[in-house]
Amino acid sequence: MKKQSSKISGNRTNNKFNKLTSKFTTKTLQTVFYYIIGFSLFIAAWYLFVWLLEIISNTPQVVPYPHEAFRAFFLLQYTPIDGVTLPAHALASFFRVLMGIFYAWLVALPLGILLALFEKIDRIISPIIEIIRPIPPIAWIPFAIITLGLTTTSNAFIIFIGAFFPLFQNTYDGVRQSNKVYQDVARSLGARKIQVIWRVVLPSAAPNIYTGFKVAVGIGWMCVIAAEMMGISGAGIGYFINYMKNIGYYSNMVAGMLMIAVVGLLINGIFLIIEKYALSWKYNSNR
């Protein structure tokens, strides 16, 4: 483990490598320890809940115990049902999320920047966005089905709707809040308007845009599962959970939910890495 030199001595080796290896410091181990405690409490509560249900009601047990759910979860990692394993379902859903977010980003980012920089355009386009914004992505599902059918495209469309607004809003806010002093300094150094936007406004808005992505991925992930449950397409985590419920395989059903949680954790991890590497100027307080 590389020892980080003190700030006062002013002596430093490779900055970015230090940041990545700081993952292995005792601070991270402490965090992991607390995670384990919290998680164990959750599992204990789960056992308690199922046990109480069994005692209270006389009907056969519906909610699986943790060990049943985990067993199903691990089995389904490599055992296919109807030719598809659990990770394959998760990947299918995730792929749709990526597609939707890709198109959302393509539209939302330039729009956010444009509206934030040019007031006239803002006044014309903002009302349109404000009218569409209150309609939740799920409400678009019937519309998507009748226009685009039960396809991956209509799935991606729902995610597009869900991802667009956080991406747009955060980009817009980030650019609006960009400190004018930085822009002035850039101009004093000879930067033309385009250069100011590209080299000052965008980097200073980057943390906001990043937050937009984080929120968009979260919402996109929820949208895709809802869309799948409402009938769009024959593969994916939402579809799998619904299917398992319909045929009474409740352990598999809960295993599907666990899969969602695991993918969510992985996505969070990726975002953390991005934060540490590219946005440390804003977020990390230690080197």
């Binding site: 400190n179 002035d184 300094v185 101009r187 004093s188 150094l189 000879g190 100027w281």
Partner: protein
């Protein structure tokens, strides 16, 4: 040499009228001058500075650059033109704000390079300039630090480096209360550093401050402005040699004179 002639500068008022902020300003700045502009709060010092720096072109008057005989002969500043002419200060005049000076997403070194990159200076030359400037402020070890990792005083030193790096016309830099956000001790040490850089780099400095002590310590000339609309009250010359002693008699009598011009104490 610069000639600043501003007959009038007004800002629009919420009630749709105009407030005149600057009036009948007419002064020159020679090469290697250290001119401090002082005046009551809100009198338009920053407005004047922003006009000189080129951010505000909406005024009646003009700013003229008159190259010295040497630079004319050596064609040192080809961007400007050959005879007394109006010119574009942006990109030619260094600017150091009071706060939020360094770009927080760039390291110290990248901050200094910023202007060089914009002006398409070749990389090898960039390296030389960055090395030289870091050495000048004795911060060679802080190349890869982010602005939030260094103190406020250090940030301002790097801001000065970044402004000097683009080789401004007549080495003119314009500083808007650059030390006001710092504590008293850092402020004093930075004033000394600034004078050091001023001499070594043969800079021309226009400095705005509220602090009379600072003005007396640093400047060769002091321009005292009145309250709104700001007019020239006095162009004051300070002939004390550097380093100046803040405790001696001459220093304090000059200080008292300046305070008097600002009507803070009765004369």
């Amino acid at each position: 040499m610069f000639s600043v002639k501003i007959q009038s500068k007004s800002f629009p008022n919420p009630e749709n009228s105009q407030i005149e902020v600057l009036k009948n300003l007419d002064f020159t700045i020679h090469d290697h001058d250290f001119l401090t502009i002082i005046g009551p709060s809100g009198c338009g010092k920053t407005t004047l500075l922003r006009i000189i720096a080129g951010f505000d072109k909406n005024f009646q008057g003009n700013i003229t650059y008159i190259p010295s005989a040497e630079s004319y002969a050596n064609n040192v500043n080809p961007k400007v033109g050959t005879v007394p002419s109006s010119f574009e200060p942006l990109g030619q005049v260094g600017y150091i704000p009071q706060d939020f000076s360094l770009f927080p997403w760039l390291t110290v070194e990248e901050n200094i390079r910023f202007g060089l990159k914009i002006n398409k200076i070749p990389k090898k030359e960039q390296d030389l300039i960055v090395d030289r400037l870091l050495k000048l402020v004795r911060m060679e070890n802080y190349r890869d630090y982010l602005p939030k990792e260094i103190s406020g005083g250090m940030q301002q030193k790097i801001a000065i480096c970044r402004a000097i790096a683009i080789n401004p016309i007549s080495n003119l830099i314009v500083m808007d209360e650059p030390f006001s956000a710092l504590d008293a001790q850092t402020r004093n040490s930075l004033q000394t550093d600034l004078l050091d850089i001023w001499k070594k780099q043969n800079l021309t400095i226009i400095f705005v401050t509220h602090n009379i002590d600072e003005a007396t310590f640093l400047s060769q000339r002091v321009l005292v402005l009145s309250e709104l609309p700001a007019r020239m009250v006095k162009m004051f010359s300070i002939n004390l040699p550097h380093p100046r002693d803040r405790t001696n008699f001459e220093f304090n009598s000059i200080r008292r004179d300046l305070l008097g011009y600002l009507k803070i104490i009765d004369r």
